[in-house]
Amino acid sequence: METEKKLIGRGELEKLFSHWRSKGKRILAPKKIGAKIDFAAVTTLEEVCLDQVQTVQSAKTAVFPRVEELFSFKNKDGRVEIRERDQGALPETVIFGLRPCDDAAFAVLKAIFNWDSQDPLFSARMEKVAVIGVSCPRADEYCFCTSAGGGPGGTTGSDILLTEIAPGEYLAEIISEKGRVLAGEAAGLKPCPASVSKEAHLAKVEPVFALERVAPALARLFDDNAFWVEQSLRCLGCGACAYVCPACACFDIQDEGGGSGQRLRCWDSCGFGLFTLHTSGHNPRPVQSQRWRQRLMHKFSYMPERQQVLGCVGCGRCSRACPVDMNILEHLRSVAEAKP
């Protein structure tokens, strides 16, 4: 579908919020929580924070929650009954105010969950999500979207992308069919003069490494243990990077509730030693350097080859969230610049 351009004012957006609310939709948007800004359910535009470069966590929870029920079961008196989820009951969700890198991350998640076969629960959630992005007027030293194939005004993954062209005045790019439906719910969209361009309102994010050099360099470096040990000495082996990442989707499956309980899917991270530990005690990745290597290899080598998509959108969240400043940008740069 061809992108349509319109103008929309803050007042109209507010009306859209109350319209969605009246339809019973869940609205997720960046919101101040304590000292941090993160995605949470909101009801009005007032609650939404758009000043930050990035939220702590991504919006992936809308389609890949921290913990979700796959199905429930009753195991009693030698009989087992399985109750599948009612996918119709999944919430209709509008995600508002996420950055173009986060919008693009939904394409990565789709590639992970649906590359070989469709993941029904993920797909059902995805179906019910509409994405209204807001392009970036500012970036920080952790941003590298332009090195990861995106940009501060990138439209990949958005249904509508907004760019603030004057205080309270937005250029709305209507990108998808879902976007058109959403826009149809707004009265008072104004036509956009041809002279209006978003470029002047976007952050400048200079490319910092040559992406095409990363995958071949990684393949070369795989067996260079010293390189990986050096890269990961600081790493504490936690899962903060994976859990804030909009494109990380590794998961665990756990049963809870005894005989009458649920089978759950929950987040997991390749940074944990337990992730690959065999019951026998053998671990194919026994040390942290190998786990860090896996993180980079997976996103920048395996995924491009197997799922035809980069496992990273350059949002920089992992670097900001890391307790010990494992800055992925630096690591990628040194990978790209490693001598053959």
Binding site: V67, Y142, L233, A240
Partner: protein
């Protein structure tokens, strides 16, 4: 800063240590300083020490791939010094395993080569909660229980179970944490409300009488849960009831695996 760098150069050049674990410049606003592992005298100029250097570097003493690099000199804040003593008391580090370079806010560097000298150094420090810490803690103690319950429920609801608190804690060194034991499954794996509460209770309890209040768990938490409050509350409890302070001596019983016959029991019927 130059004193610190010179000391590092000297230790490395004389091969007294194989590595200096210290602070270097971080990569951006989110991390003005970060850990560096200096192995050559020529690299010592990247060492810094200022108010932004807060991480308790003793966490790296327990990391296998760092340990493999040989004997370390550790740039140690007061918290890190106490951590070293606590690790020694728990038989995790031995005398002469490492050399501490005690640093303070004034930029003074004091090399401490033995656990005994670390003890003497720590004995002269004020290890009480600061006035600010006491006031903040008191604010929560003074709430009514229902408000406290709600406060913690909201805080824990954000917990992702990323275990950054555990990773950052130099005293969370178990090779297999309770959360990784599944026969029985003590702590639920998923980050739902019950799993998050049990994890955080367990973490706090297992650090009771051991935590030195370095605050790294809270600094590491990506969603900003004030875990330090739990630790401070329990260390106050341990101090008030057992007159015990962690990380003061290289040979000490663990507060929670010892007892006095006259420990208080007014709550027991």
């Amino acid at each position: 800063m130059e004193t610190l760098r010179n000391k590092a150069r000297e230790l490395l050049a004389s091969k007294t240590v194989q590595m200096v674990i210290g602070y270097g410049r971080g990569s951006g606003e989110a991390a003005p300083a970060r850990a560096v592992f200096i192995r050559a005298a020529a690299e010592a100029e990247s060492l810094i020490f200022d108010a932004s250097c807060q991480q308790n570097l003793a966490v790296y003493l327990m990391k296998p791939e760092v340990r493999q690099l040989g004997k370390a000199a550790l740039v140690a804040t007061p918290s890190a010094l106490r951590t070293i003593l606590q690790l020694a008391a728990e038989n995790q580090v031995k005398d002469h395993d490492l050399l501490a370079l005690a640093v303070d806010a004034q930029g003074e560097v004091t090399p401490l080569a033995t656990l005994q000298t670390i003890e003497a150094h720590v004995a002269a420090l004020d290890c009480n909660l600061s006035a600010g810490e006491k006031t903040e803690l008191q604010k929560y103690v003074a709430l009514d229980p229902e408000q406290r319950r709600q406060f913690w429920q909201e805080e824990f609801a954000r917990c992702l179970k990323c275990y950054a608190c555990r990773g950052a804690c130099p005293l969370c060194y178990c090779s297999r944490c309770t959360v990784e034991c599944n026969q029985p499954q003590w702590i639920p794996v998923p980050a739902h409300d019950l799993g998050n509460l049990e994890w955080n209770v367990m973490r706090a309890m297992h650090l009771a009488g051991r935590c030195v209040n370095c605050g790294d768990c809270s600094r590491a938490c990506p969603v900003g849960i004030p875990l330090y409050l739990l630790n401070q509350r329990l260390l106050s409890e341990v101090l008030a009831n057992f007159n015990f302070r962690s990380g003061m001596a290289a040979k000490a019983d663990n507060a929670m695996s010892t007892f006095k016959p006259d420990d208080p029991e007014d709550f027991i019927r």
